[in-house]
Symmetry: C2
Subunit: 84 residues, 2 copies
């Protein structure tokens, strides 16, 4: 039974994390960060770091995996915001 | 000791959830959803619903609170994307 919920958690992690991908791609392709809020991405960056600490503590694989991946994506968006 | 991690989780929840607020405000103020990816927000919407199921199962208050709030914010962005 727990495996089902782990799978649900992992699908959730995949969706919310890869949800950043289209925005990363769009920003990279259009070479424009207009309409992108740096405040938003900065808050997600700090938030994901804290989620990571929380996830490690409660030993939740979906939370750990999701937030490592989120940090990678968000770092790219912050880089683009300064570059474009 | 657990309380500390619950507080970390709640701060994480507040940051990642309220991170949507500037983008919601910016989109509403500029009456423009240019640069906003509908794909991104649709994926977050489904992902947050699954996180909610997962959070209820593992009885994690930060996950439950974060994802209810996320659904409210993301619903607003999807509404703006169709309106503007």
């Amino acid at each position: 039974m727990n495996e089902i919920f782990d799978i649900i958690g992992l699908i959730a992690a995949t969706l919310t994390t890869s949800s950043f991908a289209p925005q990363v791609y769009k920003t990279w392709r259009e070479k424009s960060s207009k309409g992108i809020s740096l405040t938003m991405y900065s808050m997600i960056f700090i938030g994901a770091a804290l989620w990571l600490i929380y996830g490690i503590h409660i030993q939740s694989a979906p939370i750990i995996i999701a937030n490592i991946a989120t940090e990678i994506m968000v770092s790219m968006m912050i880089y683009f915001k300064f570059k474009y």
